[in-house]
């Protein structure tokens, strides 16, 4: 410690750079973290995947917001553009945006709104949040500060430093706003008389209407209404519940100052479906969620919070968990990068891949030699791995296609056996082999009762989907090329492929023919022989398994004597569908190496995503070994007590045996009896060490909120949990 030269007594400050070192160290750790992960290839793959998802998400957001936001912007624009005469009586135009109950999602929406307003209407936008508006003073100051402050910044950029003096926040009043506005716009307009209309609207956004104190908002609205004659202000309210919330919190003298126009935004369930279908349930993102994990996440969404942002964050968490510290997950990447990724794998990584569970069934299918070489020869294994992963990619492609097809086909079927949306169908398909389930069979049966028009409609819908699916992958010419040729080509290239794009193409061809037949089909009963020739014609178009099918169908026709042509074809169509789906909708866990692309470790993630604070507290206190991992706290049963436990746990356990009121003296005695079992009853609770330990434990329990002291009985505490 340095000494001072000062004679007087006092406290002296010796700056030793402590603050500095703290921030420095913080930065360092951050860097360290980055560096640590930067070199790991799993981290790189993770980052790449996440970036891809993020960009897609942003695009989707932009698309889904744009319509709504444009409406609002047009509304605001119109107001001060045309009808000046209408605004005589101090009425504030205001847009009310009904946003839905999930609050976290709104932030991005309002950000987008503000950006659009800034670009298209005026640079003067203020956003007033409820957190920083404790009083009217705060609201007004905050608003004026934002309105003027943003402008000052712009001015400085443009080097027009007319208003040199920096504003203090306490100076921000409506008066300053008014003078500022007039000096800015009326002066300009008198200088350049042509630009007299260029006065810019002031937009004030209030994103979370419900959480405001409504008296404050009332006053705020009244203030603004008294200035509306000199300042063109537009209010934008974000209301989570409904318009009547607005009317409930404003008395009529306030609401008569507003002109409200209501805008509805998407419901969050729709939004979630969109996000899931467009981003996560496609083959383009290499990371996939297994059926169970997917169900967990959607349940959290539907049952708890309706927050899409939360959903995306939990998917991100799953991704992190999936990739963390595991180099084999490098293979979870796009098809194009697969070859390189496999080459970069170290022998250790290969070994851990060999230990994957889904490798075993694959292995059992091979003969002895290949088995040995799969284990011994890394290069050979790499090749096999590549092939299998390619297959997996193909499988994914057709799997998602089939899921979507199935969901479009059964969309109109009554009582929703498999669910209405793609995500529901997906969960079903990914957990079990759907074609074996009774509900699938029932669906197919119901499909086979559909009328001609309806079935044609569904097929056209399915075809549209197929085409868009095919186009999104690669720019293939749609259908002009004869199906045969296409098939041949693909057969040559990927001789081993049964699924993937070629699968999609054959499905398309089949659907096309069915569509044509169904459209032309006669609903009247006709003799089956005539139809036979018909089918023969068609069958020649398509190669493959159709022959088998035809045999089956012929059998079927023999059973039912008289059928119309349409019914015939419909029946064939259904059985074709069954066959196709049976091929395409194998559940993911039957595939070799599915662990690489699919995340299924839900039990681990569940703890983190669906946190249970009370449960955790309870386990920590009743079974400390669960967290402490020490040998001294192991208990034979969760109810038993031991002296080796931490004091809080002991006190907690003892208090669980009591009723609503706990006598402290009895409690202390019980406590002492457990801690020092050997000693004499009278003495042990006189021991000051035990007393202080007990007091501390009780204080800790009170801090945790399990007990509270009552005034009625001074030597008792009240229990608060059950």
């Amino acid at each position: 410690m340095e000494s001072t030269v000062s004679v007087s007594k006092g406290v002296f400050l010796f700056p030793n750079g402590f603050q500095n070192s703290k921030t420095l160290s913080k930065k360092k750790t951050n860097l360290l973290f980055c560096k640590l992960f930067q070199e790991e290839c799993w981290y790189l793959t993770y980052r790449k995947n996440w970036e891809a998802i993020k960009t897609k998400l942003n695009e989707l957001n932009q698309r889904s917001y744009s319509v709504l936001l444009n409406d609002i912007v047009n509304y605001i624009k119109q107001f001060y553009g045309s009808e000046e005469a209408f605004m005589l009586e101090g009425i504030i135009p205001s847009a009310t945006l009904l946003t839905g109950v999930s609050q976290p999602d709104h932030v991005s929406q309002f950000d987008a709104l503000i950006n659009i307003i800034k670009d298209e209407i005026s640079p003067h936008v203020a956003i007033v949040n409820s957190q920083d508006s404790l009083s009217l003073k705060h609201i007004v100051e905050n608003m004026v500060w934002q309105l003027i402050g943003n402008d000052l910044k712009n001015d400085e950029e443009c080097d027009v430093l007319s208003t040199k003096h920096k504003l203090k926040k306490s100076q921000c009043t409506m008066k300053t706003l008014k003078t500022w506005y007039h000096s800015k716009y009326t002066n300009e307009s008198t200088n350049k008389k042509k630009k007299s209309i260029s006065t810019k609207t002031l937009v004030i956004v209030i994103p979370d209407f419900e959480s405001f104190n409504c008296h404050l908002l009332q006053d705020f609205v009244m203030i603004i209404s008294s200035y509306i004659s000199s300042l063109p202000i537009v209010l934008v309210f974000g209301v989570a519940t409904s318009v009547s919330a607005l009317h409930k919190s404003f008395p009529y003298e306030v609401s008569s100052k507003l002109l409200i126009k209501v805008f509805h935004s998407h419901s969050s369930a729709v939004y979630m479906n969109q996000v899931l279908e467009d981003i996560f349930l496609t083959h383009t993102v290499p990371f996939h969620l297994s059926g169970k994990a997917f169900e967990l996440l959607t349940d959290v969404f539907l049952f708890y919070d309706f927050s899409v942002k939360g959903l995306v964050q939990s998917i991100k968490y799953c991704m992190m968990d999936h990739f963390y510290g595991d180099n084999t997950k490098v293979l979870c990447c796009k098809r194009e990068d697969l070859e390189e990724a496999i080459l970069n794998l170290s022998p250790n990584d290969l070994e851990s891949i060999r230990q994957l569970k889904s490798f075993r069934p694959y292995l059992e299918k091979q003969d002895c030699r290949t088995k040995i070489s799969l284990f011994e020869d890394d290069q050979y294994f790499r090749d096999a791995l590549y092939k299998e992963l390619m297959k997996l990619h193909d499988y994914l492609y057709s799997f998602y296609l089939c899921v979507k097809l199935l969901s479009t086909l059964i969309k109109d079927i009554p009582n929703n056996l498999l669910g209405k949306t793609v995500r529901e169908v997906y969960t079903k398909c990914a957990t079990e082999c759907i074609t074996d389930t009774p509900s699938f069979k029932e669906c197919m049966q119901l499909l086979s009762f559909q009328s001609q028009i309806k079935i044609v409609d569904t097929i056209t819908g399915a075809l549209k989907l197929l085409n868009s699916h095919l186009q999104s992958v690669s720019p293939i010419k749609p259908l002009q090329a004869t199906p045969k040729k296409n098939n041949n080509n693909t057969d040559k290239v990927f001789a081993h492929r049964e699924l993937g794009e070629s699968f999609a193409k054959t499905v398309r061809v089949h659907l096309m023919t069915f569509l044509r037949q169904l459209e032309n089909a006669n609903t009247e009963a006709s003799i089956s022989t005539a139809m036979d020739t018909d089918t023969n014609d068609n069958v020649e178009n398509v190669p493959g398994s159709r022959y088998k099918l035809k045999e089956k169908l012929l059998k079927a026709t023999r059973v039912e004597k008289i059928q119309s042509e349409f019914e015939m074809i419909r029946c064939r169509f259904i059985s074709y569908l069954e066959e196709m789906f049976a091929k395409g909708l194998q559940p993911p866990h039957t595939q070799t190496f599915h662990e690489i692309m699919f995340f299924s470790d839900i039990s681990n993630v569940k703890k983190h995503i669906v946190g249970a604070p009370r449960g955790a507290l309870h386990t920590a206190l009743s079974d400390p070994a669960h967290y402490l991992q020490c040998s001294c706290c192991r208990l034979p049963s969760p109810e038993s007590v031991a002296g080796t436990l931490p004091d809080v746990c002991l006190a907690y356990k003892l208090h669980r045996e009591c009723g609503k009121h706990i006598n402290l003296y009895d409690w202390l005695q019980a406590f002492a009896a457990v801690v020092k079992p050997g000693e004499n009853d009278e003495q042990r609770h006189h021991d000051p060490i035990i007393q202080s330990r007990f007091t501390r434990a009780v204080a800790e329990l009170q801090f945790l909120g399990f007990i509270k002291s009552s005034k009625r009985k001074t030597d008792h505490v009240m229990r608060l949990t059950w």
Partner: protein, 460 residues
Amino acid sequence: MDEIYSKVVCRENQLNDLFNLFGDDNEPLPCSIFISGSMATGKTLCLQTVLNYLSYKHVFVDCIECYSSKIMFENILSALNDEDEDVKCENFMDFINCLNRLQNNYEPIVIVFDRVERLRNMDQNLLPVLLKLREFCKLNICTILVTHLIFENFNFKFGVREPIKLYFPNYNKEELFRIIFLYQKSFVQHLLNHFDIEDETTELIEKPELFANFLNAFLSVFYRPCRDLIELKHMARLNFIKYCEPIIKGEIQSNDLTKLWRHISPILKTSLELLYLRISDMRQFKPSPGKENSESLYAKEFCLEKTLKDELSSTKTFAQSFELPYFAKYLLIAAYLASYNPPKEDKRLFMKNHGKQRKQMRQIKAKAKINEKLSTQLGPKVFTLDRLLAIFYAILEDKIGLTSNLLAQIATLVELKLIAGSKEIDLDTAKYKCIVGYDFISAIAQTVGFNIRKYLYDFI
């Protein structure tokens, strides 16, 4: 003077009073005047016209805006100062000093405090001092307090100099008619802005008789529920357009009064429901270019407006349109049950083996007595967090853990103003109250397939 009377109609007495009070140029002003009268009765308008006419120096201060007295003082001073300079004034002493520094040869100054009821919550010596401001400074100054409250509502702690009181009564029907009739020109102009009409029909519409007829019809419907001039003016503007629509289209002759009445009366009745709501009428906005053809847009907007009306009118549809997560709905139901059931009955309502309850004669009688005031109609009672959670778990069939997400939902419900209480979840102090009505909750319960009547004490 006549000019003023024609401008401010139906307020002759008040205007005369004001003129008498202000007197002539050389007389001193009264020390303070207190003007009361409900909204939109022309208080501010009268003051403004009188002061402008007399060309006294005057300031209007809106007291809502003055969340601190500093702002008020600075506003007044900068308005009284002719030079444009920044005035700094922290407290009353500064204010009076600044006033004294004003050089004026005893010229009259009037300070008007609008919505003065706001000042009651500020320093309690502020109003009394304002009332006798002239005694503090050597100026011919007069303070006018304008409010919708009466003077007795200003509970002054110590004696004040009683101001001269002036009361502005509400307008009656004839007066309202006369006043709205003044705006005939602007109404017609407004109408013409929205339709392109041929000259002949324009002439027809511009006829004052037509407007008078409309106003008669309009006031006969609207005078009962609403006396507020501003609101009436707003509604009249909206409805006048509809009134004139058949004339413009040529369906009804402009002098066929019965037909016009038959046309407008249902419209007026429906728009009565929208009174005070100020939902912007979509048709006033021309559809933006570059969108679909206006026809379909028009139809869509119309339909939207209709749903909005429905949504506002019935809580049931409103509740069904309400989008809440599944468990949040159950939490809300549990909160409702906790609020409207007596805690004593919880055991009987929510447990399977609650044992038989002996019906005592006394109880039955007591219940019959309060039968008229069911507890569902008595308003919500306060409940604690653990009671809420206990009921929640009792009514929910599937077992779920008490997770942080669930607890966060309670905070969300509080945020959405469906439950009143503190946002923090605290084990011992948290007290809540469910603030939604029975209609709402039964609609919510219906969406999750829950029979709420089974669990309400009133209905057993």
